[in-house]
Symmetry: C2
Subunit: 346 residues, 2 copies
């Protein structure tokens, strides 16, 4: 069985691993397509070596089919189309007891803290499976996980129909947030510096401000008649993104913090006081977000064709990471199927 294995900063290779048959309460799936996200890229670059050791199999955005069902598992059988909610909560910490297992103090994230989906077969707890409609193409279904992130973010921000919403950062998550917020009924605009991403967002029907040489604040001022937006999403990870989002908000506006800011940022707290703003942190998703994401993806509400820039076979996984690192792409999927090599070379 082949698996993409992280070997240290900048090194990921396909290795042969032994089979890992499902134990009690487990199910083995064949991931068909596994997406690579910004966190995977951080791991690839060695930025998360404190958490991910060489030899790890990463990847957590997947869709595939059940191939084997372990003892004491009911409701699943080989051939079922599934995606995986890659979170294992402890069930006992204060976050779990409060009903927020997705931010469990001892959360195990499959693909980071435990083996992930960039392999031909993946054994996971049965409770993490989420059923997919049988007719949904699995490359499209690989977008369920990032879509669940966007659903969670839009829910946490309390986006309401008619709200004016600014999304700061037009990468995959920013774009998915924009799409989901528009589905909810919001009037959405995006600010983003990268010309490729600007063009892609415009093709999806969004008004986009070039963050590098246009003035987002002036655009918001004109768009909202001086009021500001109800909701801003910080999905850029840049220090300037925080300032842009805060400046854009109307009185009582909500800033939803989606991106990771690893170092402390200078924040204009006076503006939070003066306009009674709210900052809401949003991380991952609950099961309900995942199931809603399946509905949106299956319902054709997520523009998969525009979002998936390339599909690479497992043996060319390194190329998938290099494409993502080079930019000029949105989402890159890895085809993990056993026969994908031939398909990829054809």
């Amino acid at each position: 069985m082949r698996a993409a294995t992280y070997l240290g900063a900048g090194r990921i290779v396909v290795t042969e691993l032994g089979d890992d048959p499902p134990g009690a309460g487990q199910v083995q799936i064949e991931p068909a397509y596994t997406g690579i996200c910004g966190t995977d890229l951080h791991i690839f670059h060695g930025d998360m070596d404190g958490r991910v050791a060489p030899g790890a199999v990463i990847g957590h955005e997947t869709a595939g089919r059940v191939v084997a069902v372990g003892p004491e598992v009911t409701g699943w059988r080989p051939g079922d189309a599934v995606t995986v909610m890659p979170l294992r909560a402890c069930g006992h910490c204060p976050a779990c007891v409060a009903g927020h297992g997705h931010v469990c103090h001892r959360l195990v994230f499959l693909g980071i803290d435990a083996p992930g989906a960039l392999q031909e077969r993946w054994t996971v707890p049965a409770g993490l499976l989420v059923r997919l409609p049988d007719e949904l193409p699995l490359d499209v279904a690989a977008l369920v996980e990032p879509t669940a992130v966007a659903v969670h973010d839009v829910f946490r921000a309390g986006v309401a129909p008619g709200d004016r919403v600014l999304v700061v950062g037009g990468g995959p998550i920013g774009l998915l947030i924009a799409v989901v917020a528009r589905i909810v009924g919001a009037d959405v605009r995006i600010t983003e510096p990268d010309p490729y991403r600007v063009e892609l967002a415009r093709n999806l029907g969004f008004a986009v401000v070039r963050a590098d040489h246009d003035d987002p604040a002036a655009m918001v001022e004109a768009w909202t008649g001086g009021a500001g937006v109800a909701v801003a999403f910080e999905a850029s990870g840049a220090a300037a993104g925080i300032a842009t989002a805060i400046e854009a908000l109307a009185v009582r506006g909500r800033l939803c913090l989606v991106a990771i800011h690893a170092t402390p940022r200078e924040v204009n707290l006076h503006r939070f006081f003066w306009r009674e703003l709210t900052l809401v942190g949003a991380r991952l998703y609950a099961r309900a977000d995942f199931e809603r994401a399946v509905e949106l993806v299956a319902g054709g509400m997520i523009p998969a064709g525009a979002l998936v820039s390339a599909i690479e076979p497992l043996q060319r996984v390194r190329r998938a990471f290099d494409m993502l690192a080079a930019g000029g792409v949105m989402k890159v999927l890895v085809d993990c199927r056993h026969d994908a090599a031939a398909a990829g070379d054809a």
Copy 2:
């Protein structure tokens, strides 16, 4: 008619002003007691000269009695005991239209942007009066305005019965927040460096951590069994207060930002993401907060005796500011009554 007049940084004197009889829609009151707050002290120190010009009469925490009623005013008559909600909203800006007039884009704050209550007679729009029970002593009633701030803050933070709450900063507003949160049913602790304020808070029954040489994080860890608090109030204005509050919060905890941070602060945004925290800015009060504050003060729920450190007559207003600047006091009131001079010298 005598008034305390700001003449520039460090200078406040009592001057004789002409009478200002009430026009249409206005009421003239005799402020009995007017409290001095941190903002008044900033004005006194010249920090707000861009907004408050020499010659201004400041003060906005007052209780008194109606002395004259202008044309087209109904419902008020001389002798009525009143306090004043010192906010004049424009009624037309996006904040007003959205129903948040207390953060009006063109807010006129009486005592800052317009003449205030440190004078023997004060003419204000009738719509800003809030009725006081006739039997409520007016020196106690002077605490209604800061109590309304605390009521607003506790409401904005969504404090619920049983919530563990940390108040960072034990000045007048921090203490009033602690008192109101306790009334709501929260389990409240305070962190504060000043020994005088620590002692005062302890005498009011609060557990207090000396922010300077104890470790608030260790206290919160032990107190909450590692979970963290549901709500933290930043009422210190110090950069360290922000960090203390963020570190104290449980998963999904709410940080209510009460104090003014005039310069941007370094904020651990990763913690907001990781624990899905919320930051809520809270400024001033709505009318409902003011009326609730009257109920709390009139009901004896606010420890006025402990909070009011001194009462100085109007002619010694400078001394009131000096006491506040020197520290070692909590709230200082100015007795604005015409016969207070004699009383104060007695």
